[in-house]
């Protein structure tokens, strides 16, 4: 039975016409990674997309395979942190957060603090860190937002920070100031260890 399922899954991947853009050797290796991921319940689509991205950018086969394998590993880490109920967009956003520097425990805390979907909160976390906000500060702010903020609030917060940064504000200060202005206490404290709850506010 298990073998049948695996064969069916493999067949689906092989028949995905989009992968025809890969050379045969690379395609075979990518399909193998995708099949293995699907066999353990991870989504295959992000892996296929990563391979296609590599093709479009003219990457060599081994580099494409390495990228797909790395992504599969990161998706596994994200799922361990977010739980088996995490959706594909949540896992992709989780990978972005992990690669930005957030620890798996931050993802787990976020899962515990916020009702799903977590996609936007994770994406905003990744985005803040990528923009230069220290990962500890970004984690503390997003965790502080998590219980009550709507997705739209998170997006607006992210947009505001981005614009402040584009105007010359230091990323950490921009995020803290915006968070303070939104009423997020503890966001002014930039030295929260990853995975720890936000520290209480400091004295001026």
């Amino acid at each position: 039975m298990m073998l049948t399922v695996l064969l069916l899954v493999t067949q689906v991947a092989v028949q995905d016409p989009r992968l025809e853009r890969l050379d045969p050797e690379t395609r075979s290796l990518v399909v193998s990674v995708v099949d293995s991921a699907r066999a353990v319940g991870l989504p295959g689509e992000p892996l296929i997309q990563r391979a296609l991205e590599g093709v479009t950018k003219g990457a060599q086969g081994p580099r494409i395979v390495a990228a797909v394998r790395r992504l599969a590993t990161d998706l596994g880490t994200a799922r361990s942190a977010l739980g088996t109920r995490a959706t594909t967009p949540e896992l992709e956003a989780g990978v972005a957060a992990l690669r930005a520097g957030a620890g798996p425990q931050v993802l787990t805390q976020l899962r515990d603090a916020r009702r799903p979907p977590l996609t936007m909160a994770l994406a905003v976390l990744a985005d803040l860190v990528t923009s230069g906000v220290p990962v500890d500060s970004a984690s503390a702010i997003v965790l502080a937002f998590a219980p009550t903020a709507r997705d739209a609030d998170l997006v607006e917060f992210r947009r505001a920070v981005e614009r402040d940064i584009s105007l010359g504000a230091p990323p950490g200060a921009a995020a803290s100031v915006r968070a303070l202005n939104t009423g997020i206490r503890g966001a002014n404290d930039a030295a929260v260890p990853p995975g720890q709850p936000p520290r209480p506010p400091s004295r001026p």
């Binding site: 989009r18 992504l71 994770l122 994406a123 614009r163 200060a173 803290s176 009423g183 206490r185 002014n188």
Partner: protein
């Protein structure tokens, strides 16, 4: 004139703290009431050892317009620094028209200027109107204003009253911040009493809560303060106006929207779940613009030149909410990450733009 005092203050987002302040100020009035110039500096030191420096100056010139009408042109500048961490500055010019009677009057004003946090200037525009009334030893006033600082906008409805009797001066204000985007909401109010001690000296006690001032960069807080005033007596609320600038409220018009030659900038317009998402790429001087992303299966797609927007190229795509990756190519060149996205290293030695679709 010199104010010296101590305060117990709780800024929003900070723990309560004691603070000591020194605030020299100077003012010159034209002998025939044609204008004035004033300046004030403040040194504030908190319990933590952090300090705040603040300087502001303002001048106004008055001119008669008609029988009961009077014009006023003014300008103000200011700068502040909190713990060598946050720096703020602003410059404002304003024009005001007064309609004055013996014991009542009204005014309308407009102000424009710049406010800066770090290196980023933001445009400031304020429209305001107010009325005032004098009655024996008391005066009351009310005003309504609408302020725009970058994309932060807010309105304040304020009222104030002053009662002066036997040399003792009582002041109170009550206000509300409404229709605010990025500057907080809520009711605020302050009260103070000035008691003269003799020639050139007074005690001032004050308490209250004030809102965030986006233009000068101060954050909202509540306080109790007590202090001495030395020099020519006149009233000025002794709240710790030089609160820490770390919480400089924010702004943001964002970049001015211009795109340097050779660069591209992405704009995403999402009109709803059933509508395709419109992507607009601004690419000055480009002859052809292609995009490629996870929503095109990384197949290059040629964008169409916009019929209405200069330097813009557009396309509509079905894109699911979430986090997406995109690259742009202009005139057959290399794939790049456009501005307007978060640029990240891809896995292939290049860069990729990441954007969020709510």
């Amino acid at each position: 004139m010199l104010d010296a005092g101590i305060s117990y203050v709780e800024y929003d987002g900070f723990l309560p703290s004691g603070a000591a302040s020194l605030a020299p100020s100077i003012r010159w009035d034209h002998p025939r009431g044609r204008g004035f110039v004033s300046a004030r500096g403040t040194y504030l030191r908190f319990e933590s050892g952090n300090r705040s420096l603040d300087f502001s100056a303002r001048g106004s010139f008055f001119m008669p317009l008609a029988r009961r009408w009077r014009g006023e042109l003014g300008a103000g500048v200011g700068a502040s620094d909190y713990a060598s961490i946050a720096h703020f500055s602003h410059g404002i010019v304003d024009a005001r028209v007064h309609l004055m009677d013996q014991d009542r009057g009204g005014w309308f004003s407009t102000s424009v200027g710049r406010s800066s946090f770090g290196d980023g200037p933001r445009p400031v525009a304020v429209v305001a109107m107010g009325v005032w009334l004098l009655k024996n030893e008391a005066s009351i006033s009310a005003s309504l204003d609408r302020s725009f600082v970058g994309d932060t906008a807010y309105s304040d409805l304020r009222s104030s009253a002053r009662l002066q009797r036997g040399g003792i001066q009582l002041d109170g204000t009550l206000g509300a911040r409404v229709f605010s985007n990025g500057a907080g909401h809520g009711v605020y109010g302050e009260a103070s009493v000035l008691v003269p001690l003799g020639q050139g000296a007074a005690v001032i006690v004050a308490a209250g809560r004030y809102p965030t001032d986006v233009i000068t960069g101060s954050i909202a807080g509540r306080y109790v303060s007590a202090g001495f005033r030395l020099g020519k007596l006149g009233f000025r609320p002794s709240r710790p106006a030089e609160r820490p600038q770390a919480g400089i409220p924010p702004l943001s018009t964002g970049a001015d929207g211009s795109v340097p030659p050779g660069e591209t900038r992405l704009e995403v317009t999402n009109r709803g779940a059933d509508e395709p998402v419109r992507l607009t790429l601004y690419a000055p001087d480009a002859r052809a613009v292609e995009i490629s992303g996870d929503f095109t299966d990384w197949q290059p797609v040629q964008l169409q030149r916009s019929a209405t927007k200069r330097d813009a190229w557009e396309g509509a795509f079905r894109i699911a909410p979430g986090i997406h990756r995109i690259n742009v190519r202009r005139d057959g060149g290399p794939w790049t990450a456009p501005a307007g996205t978060t640029r990240s290293a891809d896995d292939f030695g290049g860069e990729v733009g990441v954007f969020l679709l709510p």
